[in-house]
Amino acid sequence: MIRAEHISKSFGDRKVLTDISALFEPGKTNLIIGKSGSGKTVFLKCLVGLLDVDEGKIWYNDVLFTDLDFHGRKEIRKQMGMLFQGSALFDSMSVEENVRFPLDMFTSMSYEEKLERVNFCLDRVNIVNSNKLFPSELSGGMKKRVAIARAIALKPRFLFCDEPNSGLDPKTSIVIDELIREITVELNMTTIVNTHDMNSVMENGEKIIFIEEGEKCWEGNRSEILKSDCRILNEFVFANSLARQLKESSK
């Protein structure tokens, strides 16, 4: 479980997040939605500690993460996995080395054990016979799947995904969404996904937080989103005519 309380963050004079509180439960895919530039990525980076918050507290289960120093955070971070918007695979390493990297760094497993775990993770994300390929030789969807394999290599308790569907075709997006949802349940992880992809919202939205200009405007789930009368949320979610028709038919 991750709990954020009254999070605020500014860059110079520009206030990016204002008093955001949220609870993210384990075994669920929690979505943070909002248009580009609304503060989703900054909020996610604050949650994982890549950015320090100006005000507020973040709890990982019963540990107050915001009060920890570098070494204290390091222990929590070993329980985190993150899928970055651009995948963030290490260019100089092959697929196998990328997935093996956290195992090399933080476990005392033998090479054979590590290889077995790497192959299991790659198999789980449907990447086969690609161990020796380099990131530059992979498609966008494959890169995302390898990044998921790397994120789950250490069996994390917390998974963060920043725009997992960006730059992917609709079919591959669905594959990635399903994968995230399945892995979340399998490992009983607390998963937080940043997205503005409405297919993801409808498929994965067990809990949804809507952020607009750095403020939390709405909270609910995928069935509630259809019935919401929050004007700003409706303008975002039902931006196209197909979505508006869906909303009309659900009334």
């Binding site: 963030a88 260019d91 760094m105």
Partner: protein, 247 residues
Amino acid sequence: MFRFLSGFGSYWMLMGKVFSKPEKPSIYYRQTMKELVSLGLRSIGIVTIISFFMGAVITLQTAYNTENPIYPTYLIGLGARDSIILEFSSTIVALILAGKVGSNIASEIGTMRVTEQIDALELMGVNSASYIILPKVVATVLFNPFLTLISIITGIMGGLIVGTAADVVTAQAYIYGIQYAFIPYYITYSLIKTVIFAFIITTVSAHQGYHVEGGSLEVGRASTKAVVYSSVTLLLFNVILTQLLLS
């Protein structure tokens, strides 16, 4: 002034992170070996070529500027030797390496920053500064003295070959000259300078790359700044070290 002080402060803060205890020494060892190949072995070619021709030019210039029956021709060898050992093989080669290695380091680390690879390392709980920069520092500090020795040998050989081919000095006189009044401490002086220059090139360039914000344009700018800042710092330290070590 504020920008300079802020940059200076962030440089030392980064160094604090770089020289903290490595998470897993075996991985750092492996990384250092990779960097030895990438930053060290792959620089041998350019150092050899440049040293050979610079040695040749130094010999020719010394010969043409000392064309006087009073001066014995072996002084051409002596002059070339001292120029190469004292200044050329440490400082000029370091300036060339600031261009080659420095821009390579800044652009590599800068690209890692803008593609979120550094964030990925931090998120895993890895000290990204130490993991990325420390092996590069160790590799260059260990290997650059060999590059300097290679440069000294190649430069003197270049002087011998071109000097004799241009008929400005005989091989016998040149070889006598490079042995005449030889002070072994000059080699030590040159190697001390090389080690310090290697540290400057690597850390200043890494600092520029590590703090890149933006995209590919900023990575290019960081790469240029890395070469300029490390070259200027290197020249400043050249004066300080010369005064300290030769006075």
